[in-house]
């Protein structure tokens, strides 16, 4: 399965990147292809339009607004917070997979 995720937090220094790493690790461990866009302080490395188009599901793990959210219009979206991704990314990946089946 292909998953795209966006992470962001209030100061953009820690949670954003911990959540991204957790989701990448859990996604790959479950055998999925996963791309994570970190909307933190410092350079933004956006996911590509192709990655979004081919994604089966999108995970938003954010405390503050997602930048350029309209890029994800029409996608199946699992909404969560960075803290949850850090605590238990594996469960979020399973939830996202379930969302695709619906």
């Amino acid at each position: 399965m292909k998953i795209v995720a966006v992470t962001s937090c209030a100061t953009g220094i820690a949670h954003t990147f911990m959540a991204a790493e957790a989701l990448e690790r859990a996604g790959k461990a479950a055998g999925h292809e996963i791309y994570v866009e970190t909307q933190g302080a410092g350079g933004l490395k956006p996911v590509t339009a192709d990655q979004i188009a081919s994604a089966d599901v999108v995970i938003f793990a954010n405390d503050i607004g997602i930048r350029d959210k309209e890029r994800f219009d029409g996608k199946k979206i699992l909404q969560t917070i960075p803290k949850q991704a850090i605590k238990d990314a594996a469960s979020l990946i399973s939830e996202a997979v379930k969302l695709v089946g619906k």
Partner: protein, 149 residues
Amino acid sequence: MDSVFSTDLINLNLKAVDKKSAILQMAQTLVDKKRGNDVSQIVKDVLERDQLGTPQVDGIAIPHARSSGVDIASVSVARCKPGVSFDEDDGVADVLLMIVVPDSNGDEHLNILSELARRLMNPDFSRALRETNTAEELFEILNRSKEKI
């Protein structure tokens, strides 16, 4: 560019009764080592940021803030027994990595800091933070690239 890490900023035996006391001692060291200029401002900013939640994984907490009391972006490391609690839900933290950057900080340090946040999700790195015996050894591990540990 000054390194964000320094053996001076590593305390393997911090004695603290609560998070405020731990942050206060770490802020004091930053000022003593000429990396900061205002202990109470640093403590205030870190505690304010803590209100929004301090990241914690496996007993390792990362209090962090931008602060006008900081001159040089720094990562202070403290191991404390029995540990202090940031968020009751997360339990006790016995390793603290306090990240502080000056208010006017550009982007160059943020990459190091974000990489550190990512590395914390690696169980091998957490283990190294707990099990190294000297500040020098820990400093060396912190300076390694993400790929190595």
